[in-house]
């Protein structure tokens, strides 16, 4: 079976929509859903063959760029990790495509939207099934491009255009580090084999060469530390980790299905997926893992705290994504990639559910500020129930999938050291708090006067229901076993001490938020009064955004102006005029000699002959 259609199907959909079916709205929607559906079917078939026989087809590759020294190909690598991730991406993707047919129906750029979605699907699947670092980088950039196009979908809005540019630039900064990391790995892989030709970027070979090189001492540990850090730089850019997280909240300018697909389930997970894919490199350097774990925890806490003061429903979810990603990165940092991936998969389901739920709410009420919403439970029962289930899963209560995957991470944190465990528990508490706030404000309490809000149409609620089923059931699919407990130790103690502590923390968080928001439905953010200066700090996003804006406005632009003036002064005025003016002066010098007197002409001629003779003599002399 030609498995290239996993990538080709959505790509063909993208091309046909972009070129031909732009005017036929429903046709393009069908093309997009069909394209992704085909890849979903293929991946499902692979998944079933994985479950039954465990046999997986060989990685397939066609050479993209072949020169002496570099041999890059584009292909498909099938293993447990990529198939599961592929399932998440294509499965959730198809559901979101179906959802967006309803959500975007009255939007003029309908088919353009589906074209961009298909492009995104191709890029994401490209990363998931990539066989080498260069292919990952290639589709990494394409994913960045797709998110740029989708965030800036409503380009006539200023905020959307700026948000798109900001997202792309932040991704680009991340890619800067990623590329350098890849270059370093490529260069170092040659050293391990002792020959320049042996350099490679293929995962399979790297997984074999790098540990060997490290063991045999030909490659020093610090090289892995630097390479790992550079690669983490790319991961941070894509998965909105601490220094490069500023673009995620602004990315909410895009349509909600975009936020659901890209900024919850798939794209932001690409970073964590890449770390899982080249974990053989990260494992080689201890301090690298420490740094990664620290950055993860820092992002988790930062995200959770920023979400507290947020009043826009989508921004709260965005910050919660950031914080959950922080937890996954921390899990990776604690050398338990399986826990990270497990949480990533479950998170993909319930976060997409929450975003789609928010989408239904926005579609019905056209409002995003939680203080303007209220009492939707009666109006939109299905969405509310689904949103509630998503919230419980995110918070990590027992029956829901979130509980199992988060508990894995907490277990891993506890085993490493108490510090990580306390940090993770704090994040869980904050998550429970702001999610509770969200639910109490939006769905409970008396109804705010916002016209007749009706339940979202079936085409929107169906994906929501499917996702809510998964966010409930995902915990029972033994995903860790499926992921192949690479690290060997089995996590059995589901109901050990960790489970009780985390459940208690979540319940406390929920009641605290109920106490603040559920009872008397404040019209303004009560935390401002309560937290005072700390609140203001959270509201201003720790001044990181202002720091970046300061850099762009006050450092980069003036420096560019300086360069421009220097260029104007020295190069254009200097060289340009030197040539122009210089020739002119030379000319006028000659002019003065034309006095009309024959004899001065002769003397000038004689002088020139002498000069030529002298130059010729010198030149001949030189030879």
């Amino acid at each position: 079976m030609n498995y290239y259609f996993i990538l080709l199907a959505p790509f063909l959909a993208f091309v046909t929509i972009a070129l031909f079916t732009r005017r036929f709205r429903s046709l393009s929607a069908l093309m997009a859903i069909g394209g992704l559906g085909i890849s979903f079917a293929l991946i499902l078939k692979l998944f079933l063959s994985l479950l039954t026989t465990g046999a997986l087809p060989e990685p397939v590759e066609f050479s993209w760029l072949d020169l002496p020294g570099i041999h890059f190909g584009i292909g498909l690598l099938f293993d447990r990790l990529s198939i599961l991730m592929g399932l998440l991406v294509s499965g959730v993707g198809t559901l979101i495509f179906i959802f967006s047919t309803g959500y975007m129906e009255d939007d003029p750029g309908y088919s353009r939207f589906f074209a961009y979605l298909s492009l995104f699907a191709v890029a994401m699947l490209g990363i998931v099934f990539s066989t080498n670092l260069i292919q990952t980088f290639l589709f990494w950039e394409l994913v960045g491009l797709a998110s740029y196009l989708l965030i800036g979908f409503w380009f006539e809005k200023n905020q959307a255009a700026d948000a798109a540019k900001k997202a792309f630039m932040t991704n680009r900064v991340g890619d800067f580090g990623l590329m350098l990391g890849i270059l370093l790995i490529w260069f170092v892989s040659g050293q391990a084999l002792g020959s320049a030709e042996g350099r490679t970027v293929e995962f399979a070979q790297l997984a074999r060469i790098l540990p060997e090189g490290f063991a045999s001492g030909t490659i020093s540990g610090s090289v892995f530390f630097i390479a790992g850090l550079l690669i983490f730089c790319g991961v941070a850019g894509k998965s909105a980790q601490f220094p490069l997280h500023v673009w995620l909240p602004d990315a909410m300018e895009g349509p909600t299905p975009v936020s659901a697909l890209i900024h919850a389930a798939t794209m932001v997970a690409a970073g964590v997926y890449l770390m899982a894919r080249i974990f053989f490199l990260f494992i080689l350097s201890g301090e690298l893992l420490q740094v990664v774990a620290a950055m993860g925890l820092l992002t988790a806490l930062l995200g959770a705290s920023l979400a507290l003061m947020e009043s826009d429903i989508k921004r709260v979810l965005a910050y919660s994504t950031m914080s959950q990603l922080g937890l996954m990165v921390m899990a990776m940092g604690l050398a338990y990639p399986v826990a990270g991936m497990y949480h990533l998969l479950t998170h993909g389901f319930f976060k997409a559910l929450l975003f789609l739920g928010a989408g239904c709410v926005i579609h019905a009420t056209h409002r995003q500020n939680i203080f303007e919403l209220g009492g939707l439970f009666k109006r939109m029962p299905v969405t509310s129930m689904a949103f509630l289930m998503g919230m419980f899963a995110l918070a990590g209560l027992f029956p829901f999938s979130g509980f199992f995957s988060k508990e894995e991470i907490l277990q891993a944190a506890l085993e490493t050291s108490r510090f990580w465990f306390v940090g993770a528990e704090a994040t869980t508490f904050l998550t429970a708090f702001y999610m509770g706030k969200l639910v109490w404000m939006v769905f409970l309490g008396h109804e705010k006067n916002h016209g007749e809000t009706h339940e979202a149409p079936l085409v929107m609620t169906l994906p929501v229901m499917v996702l809510s089923f998964f966010s409930l059931a995902a915990g029972y699919f033994q995903i860790p076993e499926l992921l192949g407990q690479a690290s060997g130790e089995t996590r059995t103690a589901h109901f050990g001490p960790v489970a009780f502590i985390s459940t208690a923390v979540v319940l406390v968080g929920l009641f605290a938020s109920f106490f603040l928001y559920g009872l008397k439905k404040p019209a303004y953010e009560p935390l401002e009064k309560r937290l005072g200066p700390l609140g203001r700090l959270f509201a201003r996003k720790f001044f990181i955004d202002d720091l970046y804006n300061f850099y762009v406005a006050k450092i980069q632009q003036p420096f560019a102006e300086l360069c421009d003036r220097a260029n104007e002064l020295f190069v254009i005025k200097g060289l340009g005029h030197l040539a122009g003016r210089g020739l002119y002066q030379l000319g006028s010098l000659m002019k003065k000699s034309l006095t009309g007197n024959v004899q001065t002409y002769i003397s000038v001629v004689v002088v020139q002959i002498l000069i030529i003779l002298a130059v010729a003599a010198i030149f001949l002399q030189l030879v």
Binding site: L594, T595, G596, N597, V598, I602, V606
Partner: protein, 100 residues
């Protein structure tokens, strides 16, 4: 024995004098005269080399050059006369109509 470089030095000196005369003299006719001196310097060189390499071509060249020099003087003087007739003077510096 006189080597050829003696003659060369002499010829160059003569040439320099002729050049100096051509540049400083005011009288057109005497400019032509100085040019004649330069011509003679060249003839001297021709003859000198003809003797050193024992080849008469040099002398033939000298002869031809003399003829040409004579022709040149004839035409030069004719022009000088014309100039004199038009400007009533043969002072070289008067004829600077070229200067715009």
């Amino acid at each position: 024995m006189i080597s050829e470089s003696h003659y060369l030095v002499l010829a160059f000196l003569l040439f320099a004098i002729g050049l100096f005369g051509a540049l400083t003299r005011r009288n057109l006719i005497l400019i032509l005269l100085s040019i004649e001196i330069m011509f003679n310097a060249i003839h001297l060189i021709f003859v000198t080399f003809s003797r050193t390499w024992n080849n008469l071509d040099g002398q033939v060249a000298a002869l031809f050059s003399m003829a040409v020099a004579a022709a040149e003087v004839a035409v030069g003087l004719a022009i000088a006369i014309l100039l004199f007739r038009s400007r009533k003077t043969i002072d070289a510096s008067q004829f600077n109509s070229l200067k715009d």
